[in-house]
Structures are given as structure tokens and as C-alpha cells.
């Protein structure tokens, strides 16, 4: 018995051991739960902390004269808390908000659908309608006490002072999944610049979001600030932008381009600042704001005239005769011609069965009158002699490469690097391009049309305007840019550095003389004025798809130029038809600050001279 007692007493060790084992297992489990895994901590934080974002005010945008162009305007979202909204007279509510009961029902279903609205909680505010204007919200606001569970949340949306410069200003929209993927700064529902300056200067304009950390209980209710706001961060407002655009010039440009497809780009040569950037057809930037945004965007994107396309930097056109200036600069610098070299022109360039036509004028002529009269033959001969010069260039490919280098130095063939999204590079062919196209068998004659800005050569209107600015500067350009000043931040050095071309300034002087001659007694006579000395060059670009394009490139005054301009009107036929008079009006507006009465009449005339029947887009939304 006592032995049995002794045996049984040993069982106390079994029981004690069991207790020790259990506690040990618990401690090991706690070790893994509390010390080995961060998941639970994060889970707990996402449970309990509601990080409420505080949005900074987006920077305002003004023109070069300080005229406000874009600012922020309050808009109102209507929020609903499902558990609180019972007993609301829905008919009355719908009447106040101007919606139908069917829309109301549909929206309520959408809110409750957890698949479409993953953040749904019946205890928290859910978005019912967004971006209502003051007028839309006013009747609702008066009767709000009748609608328990409905709340108004203030948001800030963009508003535009003028119906102009839509392509430059761009717009702001909700960040899409790609934006969020690309930059962790953004979350669902955040706004982001989508086009234009809003997009290229997004980081400056947006400011930095602040946050406040709130405590949220299991039912989603806010229970105050975490540690009395110790970890809250105030938002940093966005920076204001000053554009180089002159809104009056821009407005005139848009007026003049009404009913025409094309672009006007003006640059201040000494700074590279873009004074106006007109792309036609255009639209009222206010269309991109508010609840109609989606609908309007669809409307615009379906228009066959592509109003959303910023032709100034995305349109790639044959530059036509405006390009001859660049050829003269190349031939002069390469020593192919001197200012006194004259080439014959017998109603065109005729050689080995190849003919490039030309209009009647005295011949043979040297380079200055050749630019003045826009002689095709002269430049064909120039290119022929350059590409055929085997002493200087062992092969035609070498000549081509040399020629291309000149073009690239003038800002062609590559993106200029303007501070707007979507710029196209145009096309400057090179030797391999033609080797491929002609299977290695080609010469100067094969590609002769590039010398007169036809053939494979394509430039954007911005590149043509920049050519004008380079000539106005006698040999350099500053990368064109649309933002003159960022509040509290320095401009990119790319927009202050001089880019010298491969041609010396003295040859530029020759070309300037030619362009002056064009205005005085050549193709650009329509731009001549007694107020200042204008230099210009027309372009009539052949268009295999329809009527020729009308182009004008020029600058004024001849000494100390203030404005260099490119006017490009699709299917405008002769350069002198649209290009010259529009360019002249624009220069007058900018240099004088206003138009003379006669010019005003002329402007009205051109405003109503349409090449196609335009659809006028205006904001059908709040003002």
C-alpha cells in the first residue's frame, strides 16, 4: 500500500510537468505572435488608425503679366451614412439634388455593393454625389435638416478664368491605377495633373499632403485624435506657377485660328519663353471640371478634328519653305555657297530628268533674294552640290550625316524638351534611313525635296517657331518653355542655357537679310509694317492628302527681336493666305500690346474665315 502510495505520489510530477508544458507552449506561441511577426502590428494599426489625409491647396497659375488663369474653387461632395439615413423623404431629396428616384436607387445600390465599393461601412460616410457647385448644392443645403445621414463635404477643384489655353494648362483628374502604381504618393481618389502644365509641373503644383491620425473603433466611428495630434502633419500648399504665356496674345491666336486646323507658337527669342501656344481646334478648359468631365472628355475624343491633340507639339508637319532658312545656314557654314553664289532657276530645278518647279522670278540669284523669293531651285542646287561634293564628303552618306548634324543642332529631329507632356520629335532623315529606303542606292537628287522642307522632313510647329527664335538670336536658342517662374523654386537650367547651332552668327546675318527681303519685297509682303522691321519666311507645304498647308515663320523687330513666331494652318494653301497675315497680327498684338483699328477689322475677318465648319466647345458646366 505504501509502495502504491509512493508510486502515486510520483504522479505529481506528471501533473506539474503537464502544467509546465502548457505554459511553455503558450510562451512559445506568444513569442511567435508578438516578436516574430510584424503582420499583426500592421493589422492592428490599419484596424485602429484612420489616417485622414489633409489635402494641400493646389498652386495657382498666372500668365506672364500676373493675370490669374487657374485657381481653386470649392466643390461639394454629398456623403451618406447608411445607418443614419433612414426615414428620409427620397422624393424631396431627389428634387433638391436634381436627380431622378431611379438614379437615387441605383446610386444607393452601388454604394452598398462591396465589390464596387470595397471601403463600404454602413457607419461611415460614403460618397453619394461628387463635385457639385455652390448653386447645385444650395437648395439641398437649406433643407439639409430634413435629410439625416446626409452630409456635405468640401473639396477643392480647379477653375479657369478664361476659356483659352486648354492644351497648355491641361487638367486635373483622379489618379488612375497606373499613377498610383508609379508614385506611392497617390491614393485612390487623389487628384493628379493629367495634361499640360498641370501634369508636367504636378510635383510643384500639388504640394505635400498632410495627415492626421484618428482613432477608429470597431464600428468605424471616429473616437478622437491619436495622442492629441502629436503625429499629425500639416499639409504644405502647392507652388504657384507663372506661365510665359501672354493670355491676350493667346486669346487673339485662338480667335484667329477659329475654323482652321493648325497651330500658332510664339517664342521670346532671348529667353526661350513661349508667348503663346495655340492649337486649333481647341475647347474651353472648364469642360474638364466637375461632374460633366467624363462626358465632355468622351465628346472631345470622338471629334474627328481631334481638339484634344496639342498640334503645337504633337502635330508633325512638312515645314515647307520655312525650312529653306536652315538650308541656307548649312550651305553657308559648310562653304557650299557664299553670300554671292548664284544658282540658275528656269521655272524650277531641272536636272537629269528631275524637275522641282518654281514660280517666276529673276535668275540666277544669290542666297538673300533666293530666301526673299523662296526660290526652290537655289536650295535644290545647294543640296545637290553639298551631297555631290566628294572632296569634302567621301560618300553621300557622310554628306547626309553632316547635314543631319546641322539639323539636329537647330533643334530638329529630336524633342526640344519643352515642359509639356506629349511632345513629338518630328523627323529628320539620316543616312541609314535612306540606305534602308533606297537599298543603299541614292544620291543628292534622290532626296532633293528635303532641301525645300518637303519629302521626309517633318517638324512640329514649336520646332519651326524655335527656328525663327534661333535666327532672331543669330545662332542660338534657349529651349522653349512654358513656365516662366515657379514660386520658391529655381527653373531647370535647361531653360536658361544657350544652345548654339553649328552655324556661325555671321551666316545668320545673311539669312536675316533674306528674311527681311521676303517681307520688304518678297513672299511675306503682307507682314510688312512701318511700326517695326519684320523678318519672315513663308511656307507652302505640299500635302498629298489635300490642299497645301499654309505656314509662316518670322520674328520682329529685326534688331533686338521680341517675338519669333510660327503660324501653321492645315490646308490653308499659300503661305501668304493665312500664315503671313495671322503672323503679322500676332506680332502686332504682342509688340504693341494691342491691335490698330485696321488690324482689328482684319482679325475679325480672319476669325470668320473658316476652312472647315467648326464645333465650338464651351463649358456647359458651372461658371
Amino acid at each position: 500500500m505504501s509502495n502504491q502510495e509512493y508510486q502515486l505520489e510520483k504522479r505529481k510530477y506528471v501533473l506539474g510537468g503537464v502544467a509546465i508544458c502548457i505554459i511553455l507552449v503558450f510562451i512559445v506561441r506568444l513569442f511567435f505572435l508578438q516578436l516574430m511577426s510584424e503582420d499583426f502590428k500592421q493589422n492592428a494599426d490599419s484596424n485602429a488608425f484612420l489616417k485622414r489625409v489633409q489635402y494641400p491647396a493646389r498652386g495657382a497659375i498666372t500668365d506672364r503679366n500676373g493675370d490669374l488663369l487657374v485657381y481653386n474653387q470649392p466643390a461639394f461632395d454629398i456623403m451618406v451614412v447608411m445607418t443614419e439615413q433612414k426615414g428620409v423623404d427620397t422624393l424631396d431629396l431627389c428634387r433638391c439634388l436634381g436627380i431622378t428616384p431611379q438614379q437615387y436607387e441605383k446610386r444607393m445600390e452601388e454604394i452598398k455593393n462591396r465589390r464596387r465599393n470595397p471601403g463600404y461601412s454602413p457607419y461611415t460616410q460614403q460618397l453619394f454625389m461628387n463635385q457639385l457647385s455652390v448653386s447645385e448644392i444650395s437648395s439641398f443645403q437649406e433643407k439639409m435638416f430634413l435629410f439625416p445621414g446626409f452630409y456635405i463635404q468640401k473639396r477643392s477643384i480647379r477653375q479657369y478664368q478664361y476659356p483659352y489655353a486648354a492644351h497648355v494648362l491641361g487638367d486635373v483628374g483622379e489618379a488612375d491605377p497606373d499613377d498610383i502604381e508609379a508614385d506611392k504618393y497617390y491614393q485612390r481618389g487623389d487628384y493628379i495633373g493629367k495634361q499640360g502644365v498641370e501634369r508636367s509641373y504636378e510635383t510643384a503644383l500639388r504640394g505635400i499632403k498632410g495627415s492626421e491620425i484618428l482613432l477608429r473603433d470597431a464600428r468605424g466611428r471616429i473616437k478622437g485624435k491619436y495622442q492629441n495630434g502629436k503625429f499629425d502633419q500639416a499639409p504644405i500648399p502647392g507652388r504657384n506657377l507663372t506661365l510665359s504665356i501672354d493670355i491676350k496674345l493667346q486669346a487673339l491666336g485662338e480667335r484667329l485660328m477659329k475654323g482652321k486646323r493648325g497651330s500658332i507658337v510664339a517664342i521670346e527669342p532671348s529667353t526661350g519663353e513661349i508667348l503663346c501656344m495655340v492649337s486649333s481646334p481647341t475647347y474651353d478648359p472648364r469642360m474638364t471640371v466637375g461632374r460633366q468631365r467624363g462626358k465632355n472628355h468622351l465628346l472631345l475624343s470622338r471629334d474627328p478634328n481631334k481638339p484634344l491633340l496639342n498640334r503645337s507639339i504633337m502635330g508633325q508637319y512638312p515645314p515647307g519653305s520655312t525650312f529653306k532658312t536652315s538650308q541656307a545656314l548649312t550651305f553657308l557654314q559648310e562653304g557650299i555657297i557664299t553670300p554671292s553664289t548664284a544658282f540658275p532657276c528656269t521655272h524650277g530645278f531641272h536636272f537629269r530628268g528631275l524637275t522641282v518647279g518654281c514660280h517666276p522670278h529673276g535668275a540666277p540669284i544669290p542666297v538673300i533674294p533666293a530666301i526673299g523669293t523662296s526660290c526652290n531651285s537655289f536650295f535644290c542646287w545647294g543640296l545637290y552640290y553639298m551631297f555631290g561634293n566628294r572632296k569634302k564628303y567621301p560618300t553621300v552618306q557622310d554628306a547626309m550625316t553632316r547635314w543631319k548634324d546641322y539639323m539636329v543642332s537647330m533643334g530638329f529631329g529630336y524633342k526640344l524638351g519643352v515642359d509639356l507632356p506629349g511632345e513629338k520629335r518630328g523627323l529628320i532623315p539620316n543616312a541609314p534611313f535612306y540606305d534602308k529606303a533606297y537599298r543603299g542606292s541614292w544620291n543628292g537628287l534622290t532626296v532633293i525635296s528635303i532641301s525645300i522642307g518637303q519629302g521626309e522632313v517633318n517638324l512640329t510647329p514649336l520646332q519651326i517657331a524655335n527656328l525663327g527664335a534661333t535666327i532672331a538670336n543669330r545662332g542660338y536658342y534657349i529651349t522653349p518653355h512654358i513656365v516662366k517662374e515657379i514660386q520658391g523654386e529655381k527653373l531647370d537650367t535647361a531653360y536658361t542655357r544657350k544652345n548654339w547651332t553649328m552655324t556661325e552668327p555671321k551666316h545668320y546675318e545673311t539669312v536675316v537679310q533674306g528674311m527681311r527681303k521676303a517681307v520688304v519685297d518678297g513672299t511675306c509682303r503682307g507682314a510688312n509694317t512701318t511700326m517695326y522691321e519684320v523678318c519672315g519666311k513663308t511656307g507652302t507645304a505640299q500635302n498629298p492628302h489635300g490642299k497645301d498647308h499654309s505656314a509662316f515663320m518670322g520674328f520682329a523687330p529685326m534688331e533686338n527681336p521680341q517675338i519669333a513666331i510660327c503660324v501653321y494652318v492645315e490646308n490653308g494653301e499659300w503661305g501668304a493666305t493665312y500664315g503671313v497675315p495671322l503672323g503679322a497680327l500676332m506680332m502686332e498684338q504682342y509688340i504693341n500690346g494691342k491691335l490698330s483699328p485696321a488690324s482689328m477689322e482684319k482679325a475679325a475677318l480672319f476669325e470668320n474665315r473658316h476652312i472647315y465648319t467648326p464645333t465650338i466647345y464651351t463649358a456647359n458646366e458651372i461658371k
Binding site: L8, R11, L15, G16, L30, N43, A44, N47
Partner: protein, 490 residues
């Protein structure tokens, strides 16, 4: 007068236990403060309208109750134990008739403004009764009659409590079998019980999981059958003469299973459960033959164990689906990871783990827990109170609390063992078993290791009934322990 003859109460009192008790009460009260604290109203903890304030009342009254118990005569408990027990049986019987339905439970009796839960108090009554019964002169556990009588004393209050729909509190009575093991109940009964739970849990938890990426094999089934094989081998080793043929039998059993597994993995996938069943059947038949041949009953018992195990295992699914109530089924399924529904029954366990896991090494600090305070954890001041400890006091705090409980349990074993009479020892083991069971189930459920059975954590969970119940349970033991010296002298 008495104190002149024997060492005084204060000298004989086990202060070690008292210190642990006070420490647990203090930490428990801090947890209640943390769990009932609201960020909105940084209120006064002593305000009686709050739970932390009320808990102060319960703690103070418990201390008074403890002092009263210490100042009684320990012999009263032994002599009154049957009366107390019967009194509680009556009370438990009438409770569902008087009680109002609180969340499906019929266990609360309203007295004035307070509600009490007789089930919490019946534990010490039952413990006293069992102790008294087993302390009688001719009680012998190995006699069937005594064993059954003893079991009945435990099972009757259990049944009455189940009737009150308090399954959790009822299951606590199973812990008395730990004490019975100490008092001579064959270990194989306990082992069978544990094995049954293991089969149940493993079998259901991994029923649909493939073993070794062989789709046709159910991991749960094969692992349970393999456990049966292993248990048989272990029993053959312990309970029978270790003859070479038995070694061979065990070797074949394991080797054949392994071979079948390899065959299934690399040659042709098939369900090895059939092979295992075949092996079991062969082993059982062979053992029956040997038991007849050698006239050794142990072989027969082992065969019986195998048959019982397999048939138990195959009936678990049936039990789960047809015997248990739906909410219990759900709880078990969720605990075993079979149902994944963050807002449903598993929500408690997930949120509990999040709260504890977010505590880290040092915890977030007193009153700084967010999960518990923002009501993410349900029942956070009663059944899930340990979450608050985990979140606010961290790994260090949890380890301290668990160590305190372990010390209490080991100390109770020590106290029980030093009792000169069976009555004291049995009562001590009852107390220890109850505490062990509560800690095991409660902390285990919070940590996601045991099923979600709603029983309180002693001294931590809010509530007067449970605190009083545990205090009475513990202090009667301390009072009995004080008496050990007097009894020795006699």
C-alpha cells in the same frame, strides 16, 4: 486559546500563495482598466459606474471573503461538504427555472441589482464533496463502485450546468479527472481521453489537406491512423513482455506504411489509409491470437484500444455534424481553420491574435492599447481579457502573468502533497485542476490554440461571481492548509 497550542493562523498561512493571489488581482484590475477604458471619456477608474470601478468592489469584497474563510475552522468544510454539495445541486437545478435568458445562457440569478452565477460557486462545493468522498476510510479508486460514485459526484453538477446552456463552465468539471489520476485512476483512461481529443482535432482539421502533395491522401486520416499505429507500438513496448515477434510486428507496421507512402508518391497515387487500415486489422487479429495463446490480457486491451481508436475516429465527423449544436460546430470548425470568415465566428480569434500580436516585446503601455479600447476584440473584459495583457503589457507582461499562474498551480500541487489527510490533498488537487483547466482553455483560446469555450481567466476576467468563486476555492484550500500543523500535533 487555540493559538496558544498551535502556531497562529498568520504563521501557518501560506504567504507565497497570498502574494501570487494579490499580484494576479492587481494585474487583473489593470487589465480591466485597460479593457473598459474609453478614449472618449478619460474617466475615473474608481467611478463605480465603470467596470474598473465595479471590479474594485469585487476585489475588496473578495479580500473580505478570503479573510472570513481564513478565520473559520477548517473542519467545518469537511463536515459540511455533503450539505454544501447538495445545496448547490438544488441551486443549480432551480437556476434555469429562475434565470432569465442572457445571450442564450440560463445561468444567472438576479438578486437585487446584482446577478450571480451559481455555476461559478458549485466548483468548490463539488471539490469539497469529492474530497470528502475520497477521504472516507474505505474508499478505493480501483473499486468500480467507488470510481463510478466519484464520477457521478462530478458529472451530476456538470449535467445540470449543461442544462443551463453553459457548456464551457460544465467542461471545467472534466478537470477533476486530473485529480483522480493523482489518486490512482489508471493513466490509460486519461491517455485515452487525450488521444481521443487528438484524433478529433487532427482528423477534422486536416481532413481535406493532401499529404505530401499526393491529392488522393487525406492528411488527417492518414496521420490519425499512423498515430494509432504508433500508440499500439508504444503500448506493446510498455505493457507487454518485449518479445522479438512484437518488435517485428511494430517494425513491419511502420515499414509497410512508409513503403505504401513512397509507392503512392512515386509510382501510382492511391489512398494509403486503406493500407494503414489493413495493417491495423492484421495487427489487431494477431494481438487477439497472441492474447489467447499466451493468456495475456494486455494484448487484448491493446487490440481493443486500436479498434476503439479507429472507430472513434471514423465517428468524429458524424459527431461534429450531428451531435454538437450549430454554434459549437462553427466554433470548432473556425478554431480548426476550416471556416474562414473574418466577421463571423472566427472574428474573435483573429482580432484577439491581432491585439496580442501588436503588443510586441514591451506592449503599448498601460491604457495605450488600441485594439481592445476601440472594441475590436469582443468580450474583451471577460473571456478575452488576456488580449489586453498582450497588447498593453506585451510579451514580457504575458510571460509574467503566465509564470504567476504556473507558480500558483505548482504551489497548489505542493500544498496538496503536504496535506496529511486525503481530504486536504484531494481538495488541493481539485483546486489546482480547476485553475489549470481555466488557464489552459482561456489563454489557449485567446492564442488560437484551443476551441473558443467561454470560460473566464481566474482573477482577470471581469465579474463578481467568478472572482468570488475562485477566491473561495483558493482560500478554503489555504484554510485547510493552515490546519495541517494542528492535525500533525494531534
Amino acid at each position: 486559546m487555540k493559538s496558544n497550542k498551535t502556531p497562529g493562523i498568520l504563521q501557518s498561512l501560506d504567504w507565497f500563495t497570498i502574494i501570487i493571489y494579490i499580484a494576479l488581482l492587481a494585474m487583473g484590475w489593470m487589465s480591466i482598466c485597460g479593457a473598459s477604458y474609453d478614449f472618449d471619456q478619460a474617466g475615473n477608474f474608481l467611478d463605480f459606474s465603470t467596470r474598473s470601478g465595479m471590479q474594485i468592489v469585487w476585489i475588496a469584497s473578495s479580500l473580505v471573503l478570503g479573510t472570513v474563510i481564513l478565520s473559520t475552522d477548517d473542519r467545518w468544510f469537511e463536515s459540511l461538504s455533503y450539505i454544501i454539495y447538495i445545496g448547490f445541486l438544488v441551486l443549480l437545478f432551480v437556476t434555469p427555472l429562475l434565470a432569465r435568458d442572457i445571450k442564450g445562457s440560463m445561468s444567472w440569478i438576479k438578486i437585487g441589482t446584482f446577478s450571480i452565477q451559481p455555476a461559478e460557486f458549485a466548483k468548490f462545493g463539488t471539490a469539497l464533496c469529492v474530497a470528502k468522498l475520497m477521504g472516507t476510510y474505505d474508499f478505493n479508486m480501483s473499486k468500480w463502485k467507488d470510481f463510478i460514485l466519484c464520477s457521478l459526484v462530478i458529472l451530476i453538477p456538470m449535467a445540470l450546468i449543461i442544462k443551463q446552456k453553459e457548456t464551457g463552465s460544465a467542461l471545467v468539471y472534466l478537470s477533476f479527472f486530473l485529480m483522480m489520476y493523482r489518486q490512482g485512476m489508471p493513466g490509460c483512461i486519461l491517455f485515452t481521453g487525450v488521444a481521443a481529443v487528438a484524433y478529433f482535432v487532427v482528423g477534422i482539421r486536416f481532413a481535406d489537406a493532401p499529404l505530401w502533395e499526393i491529392p488522393v491522401i487525406s492528411m488527417g486520416k492518414s496521420v490519425v491512423l499512423f498515430l494509432v499505429q504508433l500508440f499500439m507500438c508504444g503500448m506493446l513496448y510498455i505493457y507487454t513482455p518485449r518479445t522479438p515477434s512484437m518488435y517485428k510486428l511494430a517494425g513491419y507496421s511502420i515499414a509497410a506504411t512508409a513503403a505504401a507512402l513512397l509507392l503512392s508518391k512515386f509510382v501510382y497515387p492511391f489512398d494509403i489509409a486503406w493500407v494503414q487500415l489493413g495493417i491495423c486489422a492484421y495487427t489487431v487479429l494477431y494481438l487477439l491470437y497472441v492474447s489467447l495463446r499466451d493468456r495475456l490480457i494486455n494484448y487484448f486491451y491493446i487490440a481493443l484500444f486500436a479498434i476503439g481508436s479507429v472507430s472513434f475516429f471514423y465517428s468524429t465527423n458524424y459527431v461534429l455534424n450531428n451531435v454538437l449544436e450549430p454554434h459549437q460546430q462553427t466554433r470548432i470548425r473556425v478554431l480548426l481553420g476550416l471556416e474562414d470568415d473574418p466577421r463571423g465566428a472566427g472574428y474573435n480569434v483573429i482580432q484577439a491574435k491581432i491585439a496580442i500580436g501588436s503588443g510586441g516585446l514591451q506592449g503599448k503601455g498601460f491604457l495605450n492599447g488600441t485594439q481592445t479600447k476601440l472594441k475590436y476584440v469582443p468580450e474583451q473584459d471577460t473571456d478575452f481579457i488576456f488580449c489586453t495583457v498582450g497588447e498593453e503589457e506585451g510579451f514580457i507582461g504575458c510571460t509574467i502573468v503566465l509564470t504567476l499562474f504556473l507558480c500558483l498551480i505548482l504551489r497548489l500541487i505542493h500544498l496538496a502533497e503536504r496535506q496529511p489527510y486525503v481530504f486536504g490533498r484531494v481538495y488541493g488537487y481539485c483546486v489546482m485542476s480547476v485553475f489549470l483547466f481555466h488557464v489552459f482553455i482561456n489563454v489557449g483560446m485567446v492564442l488560437g490554440l484551443t476551441p473558443v469555450i467561454g470560460i473566464p481567466l481566474p482573477f482577470f476576467s471581469y465579474g463578481g461571481s467568478s472572482l468570488w468563486g475562485f477566491t473561495i476555492l483558493l482560500f478554503i484550500m489555504l484554510r485547510i492548509d493552515i490546519g495541517r500543523n494542528r492535525l500533525k500535533r494531534k
